[in-house]
């Protein structure tokens, strides 16, 4: 065992990258939940985004286009959920599970001929001399564009929810859909848009795994990240900045256990690989005492004639 092999600067730089898929998916889900929709299909939308992005990136040679199409794919799949919950008024928990099961199957079907292929690499953003600053350089200025995009999305979600009229309307729909409806807001339309935003973010998060983190396609490769993202929204008490914090915490644990595996610690690999899931449970236990922050209409079906 050689713990000195773990360089803290590289570890922090790597955890920022490891956190990005969770960050993107959780931010998208946060918007959907603030609008009162509990979408348990994050895992399904992520894996669909992962394969859509992968196929496009491999065929066009452009990872950027891959990410765009991953967002489109995730949003398209989320439309199925929107149809079930907003038009067919189905139970949101069941519909979300259906979306995950369907997405896992669909992605496996689409990805059959893409196993073992290496996708084109996405270049890091060039910051010039900033990247050469000791310690801060590698941590802050050595990443691919999606890492920064993730942070920008968190910041914009926070700004929109806090300062704009659109954000206020979205929160009103999530807190009390009957009152929002009475005020003349289109509850279903707003929720559908929030669901699609969640799908697009989850899709990009999935593509980040298949195009940058791994980078390869294997069936079921998101391995529960979507579910961790769902837990993260609870952990963050539905606040965007706390999502960022939580994502870095989980990214840190994921990265640390990978490094410990590499350093040959005496703990068996399987037990290290369990750690992110167990930490998620522990965090949920610690934080679930405070339920008051949850949006008031979360998970409830809206039907105008009631």
């Amino acid at each position: 065992m050689d713990l000195s092999a773990i360089n803290p600067v590289i570890l922090i730089a790597a955890l920022i990258s490891a956190a990005t898929p969770i960050l993107l998916a959780a931010t998208g889900e946060l918007v959907a939940e603030r609008a009162g929709v509990l979408n348990l299909g994050v895992e399904g939308m992520m894996i669909t985004g992962a394969i859509c992005g992968f196929i496009i990136a491999v065929n066009t040679g452009s990872p950027a286009l891959g990410f765009v199409m991953a967002a489109v794919g995730g949003a398209a799949l989320s439309l199925l959920f929107a149809f079930l919950t907003q038009v067919a008024l189905a139970n949101q928990v069941a519909s979300g599970l259906a979306l995950t099961l369907f997405g896992l199957g669909l992605s496996a079907l689409m990805g059959q001929s893409y196993v073992g292929i290496k996708p084109p690499r996405m270049e890091d953003v060039a910051f010039g001399p900033l990247g050469d600053i000791p310690v801060l350089g590698p941590i802050l200025f050595s990443h691919d564009p999606i890492v920064y995009l993730g942070i920008i999305i968190v910041a914009s979600v926070w700004a929109v929810l806090t300062f704009t009229r659109a954000g206020l309307v979205l929160r009103a729909v999530g807190e009390n859909h009957d009152a929002a409806h009475a005020l003349g807001y289109k509850v279903k339309r707003i929720r559908t848009m929030a669901i699609m935003f969640g799908g697009a973010c989850a899709g990009m998060g999935g593509a980040y795994i298949s195009l940058i983190r791994v980078p390869q396609w294997t069936e079921g490769m998101t391995a529960g990240v979507g579910w961790i993202a769902l837990a993260l929204v609870v952990f963050a008490s539905w606040k965007p900045w706390r999502v960022l914090l939580g994502a870095y915490l989980f990214g840190g644990i994921t990265q640390l256990q990978l490094n410990l595996q590499g350093a040959g610690v005496a703990i068996p690999v399987e037990y290290l690989a369990m750690s992110p899931y167990i930490v998620t449970i522990i965090v949920l236990v610690i934080l679930s005492a405070d339920k008051s922050r949850a949006p008031g209409s979360l998970g409830r079906i809206f039907h105008a004639s009631q």
Binding site: L84, A90, L101, E270, Y271, I281, Q306
Partner: protein
């Protein structure tokens, strides 16, 4: 203009008819999917649904129906009780794995002793393993208010890692030439969950599934606890005033569904699978969710739904070997079924009115 009007009572007709509509819609869209994949849709659907039951080799496939259907029904019965009460155990896959590990562990601990007591002990251990794994989300929910959906699901991934660790470590066959995986329980008579009548696929898991169905039916229709489950799901506030103890209900529903999933895993590992391996679990715990919904959370419905899903597994295998239909296509097919079912359920709870709204 199309309007939806909530029915005062869910429609009984559509309660039965909507799963049938969902199956028909899935056949149409599934056929279209097979056509897109370049397979003859009619032939693919016949291969999946006709071949296993009435085809040339049906004598071989019919027993498979029981082997694949029993774990699905066993797990789905437990899940359905919880779903009815709004308690969402979606980690049955993990409980299934833990049941198999506990059951196989007890059996292997006695190896090579032969005694009639070993198999019953394994059954108990299997149920206990699943129960313990489901009690984790249960206890966390009642003690700390933690969301049982997320905890039970996280525990699936933990159980999968644990399974890998066990089949590479503690339970590894010492005479296995270093290959991962345990001793084969099929070659250990005291622990083998053999066919009760040779060649029928009728093993103890099938018996357990039938007992579970009858038990659940009696519980839901004749027992106070079943009433408490139904009331809690339909009107939580009324249940509170009616003196239902939510803590006990959560623990009962999660514990029972975990124990049943554990039993399913134990019967599988001691019978059809035979040994603990890294890829022992094949997703029964997740498919059982579809089975529970397709069966409308009703014990008899679940038996029909379990049979249908088992058929798609077996028929999917045949279609794969005969027509080169990818396994994933069957997974999509199953997912589609759940989608259509949820969509058609609209008709059960709402009336669709076409025309102008009358002036009030």
């Amino acid at each position: 203009m199309i309007r939806l009007e909530k029915r005062p009572q869910p429609s009984r007709f559509y309660g039965v008819a909507s799963p049938v509509f969902a199956v028909i819609a899935t056949l149409i869209f599934g056929g279209a999917l097979f056509a897109i994949l370049g397979k003859d849709p009619i032939q693919a659907i016949l291969t999946i649904f006709w071949e296993p039951l009435f085809g040339e080799f049906s004598f071989f496939y019919r027993p498979q129906l029981l082997i694949k259907g029993a774990p699905l029904v066993l797990i789905a019965i437990g899940l359905a009780l919880g779903f009815k009460a709004g308690i969402w155990n979606i980690g049955a896959e993990g409980q299934y794995i833990m049941g198999a590990l506990f059951g196989a562990g007890v059996g292997l601990a006695f190896y090579p002793m032969e005694s009639w007591i070993i198999f019953p002990l394994m059954v108990l251990a299997g149920a206990f393993g699943g129960w313990v794994w489901a009690m984790i989300p249960g206890v966390l929910k009642v003690k700390f208010g933690t969301n049982e959906i997320l905890v039970s699901l996280m525990l699936v991934y933990v159980a999968e890692q644990f399974l890998a660790s066990m089949s590479l470590g503690l339970l590894k066959n010492p005479e296995g030439f270093g290959f991962p995986g345990s001793r084969n329980l099929q070659q250990y008579p005291s622990a083998h969950n053999a066919d009760l009548v040779t060649g029928t696929g009728m093993h103890w898991g099938v018996v357990a599934a039938l007992i579970a169905v009858i038990f659940a039916y009696v519980l839901l229709t004749r027992h106070r606890l079943g009433f408490a489950i139904r009331v809690t799901g339909e009107a939580p506030r009324a249940a509170k005033f009616g003196g239902v103890n939510p803590t006990r209900l959560v623990l009962f529903c999660l514990g029972l569904s975990g124990a049943l999933a554990g039993l399913a895993g134990m019967f599988e590992v001691a019978g059809p699978a035979g040994q603990v391996t890294i890829d022992f679990n094949v997703g029964y715990g997740f498919t059982a969710i579809i089975v529970a919904f397709l069966g409308r959370l009703h014990p008899l419905g679940i038996v029909c739904a379990g049979g249908l899903m088992a058929l798609t597994y077996i028929g999917g295998d045949i279609a794969q070997s005969q027509m080169g239909l990818p396994v994933a296509a069957i997974q999509v097919f199953q997912g589609m079924l759940l989608f259509f079912l949820l969509a058609f359920d609209l008709l059960t709870n709402y009336r669709v009115r076409i025309g102008q709204r009358e002036a009030i």
